[in-house]
Symmetry: C2
Subunit: 398 residues, 2 copies
Amino acid sequence: MAKLQAGYLFPEIARRRNAHIQKNPDAKVISLGIGDTTEPIPVPITSAMEEKARSLSTSEGYSGYGAEQGEKPLRAAIAKRIYSDLNIKETEIFVSDGAKCDISRLQLLFGPDVSVAVQDPSYPAYVDTSVMVGQTGGFLTNVQQYDKIGYMKCTPDNDFFPDLKSVPRKDIIYFCSPNNPTGAAASRSQLEQLVAFAKENGSIIVYDSAYAIYMSDDSPRSIYEIPGARQVAIETGSFSKYAGFTGVRLGWTVVPDELLYSDGFPVINDFNRVMCTCFNGASNIAQAGGLACLSTEGWKAMNEVVDFYKENTRILVDTFKSLGFNTFGGTNAPYVWVQFPGRNSWDVFAEILEKAHIVTTPGSGFGPAGEGFIRASAFGNRKNILEASKRLKDLFAK
Amino acid sequence: MAKLQAGYLFPEIARRRNAHIQKNPDAKVISLGIGDTTEPIPVPITSAMEEKARSLSTSEGYSGYGAEQGEKPLRAAIAKRIYSDLNIKETEIFVSDGAKCDISRLQLLFGPDVSVAVQDPSYPAYVDTSVMVGQTGGFLTNVQQYDKIGYMKCTPDNDFFPDLKSVPRKDIIYFCSPNNPTGAAASRSQLEQLVAFAKENGSIIVYDSAYAIYMSDDSPRSIYEIPGARQVAIETGSFSKYAGFTGVRLGWTVVPDELLYSDGFPVINDFNRVMCTCFNGASNIAQAGGLACLSTEGWKAMNEVVDFYKENTRILVDTFKSLGFNTFGGTNAPYVWVQFPGRNSWDVFAEILEKAHIVTTPGSGFGPAGEGFIRASAFGNRKNILEASKRLKDLFAK
């Protein structure tokens, strides 16, 4: 624990945001910071949760402990709706209280003796949980990296896909696509390379697909679109950014039967054991909501909210581009990755906060290769996004 | 992972139950097995959850990520209602998706290099998570114990409280009172001994109070009733058995400011970091339900359900006593601990299942000192409890 650097990124941003508000009580602060949903959950989905809550007060509707792996109809619906044609069995799907929580349970499964690689930059939970379970050495301040973690640089120079020839072998590869924070989605041929690389090295890919629904081009939505992925990849997914469930809490993890340790033992058996020992199932009310998300009506309503956020994303991309910034992401993810060459990310963060009262996320918080970038999240109501666009233009227009 | 013995206890029981049902499709199986609530949640509590679900579909009511530590009003209400007069601050309370999940997060906090002690018998999650994070050696089949875990024998001979003079020093002491499975609640003087023992040894007590609301005598409801406990104890609690939230999922953990590692660093800071990194807050709908549980109306309604289960417990205690069995627990917990001298717990389990179609829990599943006992859970509707009582009398009457 002592190895962890000060402050998990988002609590640290919240701290700075609060300090700014205290200093500027009249400022109308807009958040493009943490990727937090802002739009109401569609009624067909909340109605299902209301109905479930109500039924728990009746003898007929009450139920206690559910299966640790999730309710059968929900597992089946995820298999059918999210993985149609990909041959994922409902028994390979483990429903959870969210992808972040599943990542820590996966780390518990892997234990301290494995080595891990992450995209650089990447969502901080991979590295922080890895440090926490003891897979790493200390923090090397000269390179801003933890010893023993493989940092796979993803920058505009390599189309945000690591040069696998230069990546040393690691047991576990965390790979998020569409990526948080860069917004880059790996193409089919890139993912084929990744799967081949994992197979060659006997590595397990943990593929984070939390933003797959935001994709606009024809990049794969799931690692299981790649032949052979069932032998090397675990995939996590989440209702957080799909249906505004960031507070409701619901996600899932897929562990295919064919994924085996080097001794031939199925990983799914161990993951099942972790779920049964360290978890007691996602909230039954949240699961009722998840099932409604996957119904025809819920799915349509949910995608309309996603489209709304996608329009927000286009507004932000246009804003930064019109100001002459090198701007990445945005097409396949609700994140815009903006380059400020030669500048320190936290300085840019501070400037935008102080002068425009807008919270962003400093790129370096996601890894050393994020230095010189900031991430703007497109979650927000339209009025705020338009106001943010205006303030950014006022601040940065030449 | 490989060290873990076959099957977490309750999934194993479920497996045997299902096999029995397949063999006896017409049998009306009654469960006194897993401690799973059966009675509806009172309307004042489900209404609050419905209301919260509904509000998430509105612009005014929607909220995304909540604080990882839980919503402020709920933390304040737990401090006030559960820890009134015990000076627990709301900032010392971390709201979670349940005590079982918190135990695995505590194990993640402690890491592989600590030594642990558990009551024998005890709730299996302490030992299983300890094995999982690598704190133990292998399973020693001759003594049915994991190497390096301290098993503190709790039997009728020592009033279910360990002889601390013979307990070797361990870093962490898991202590559940009222105990699952024995139903025994430690007295004030016993807990004073425990706190003094931890202080002497520089150990941390993890005190599981999940059944405190079932207490009928004047034993302490919280470890913090004992002077000095703030320096040595973490306490976990849960709405599962209080309000029938086994499926809704809500619990909490208290980490007092004064609890320090040997180097003087506050444990609360590290636990906060674990919660922020490995968890994303309990479901906001469940939290709305928890807040309603602690209101005057909710608290009253919730206690009426608890009283119902307490009456169930009395029926089961009377049944086993009338049959001449040495019967323990039941006064302060919804569990009845029944002795079958000289017999194997799984054999008794099988006999009761096969001949009376009743699922119990074999005592040896909770640790070697549980051998020769079975645990009967008093959660169930009254008709089933009375029918179980009748069948047990038919089976065991001389």
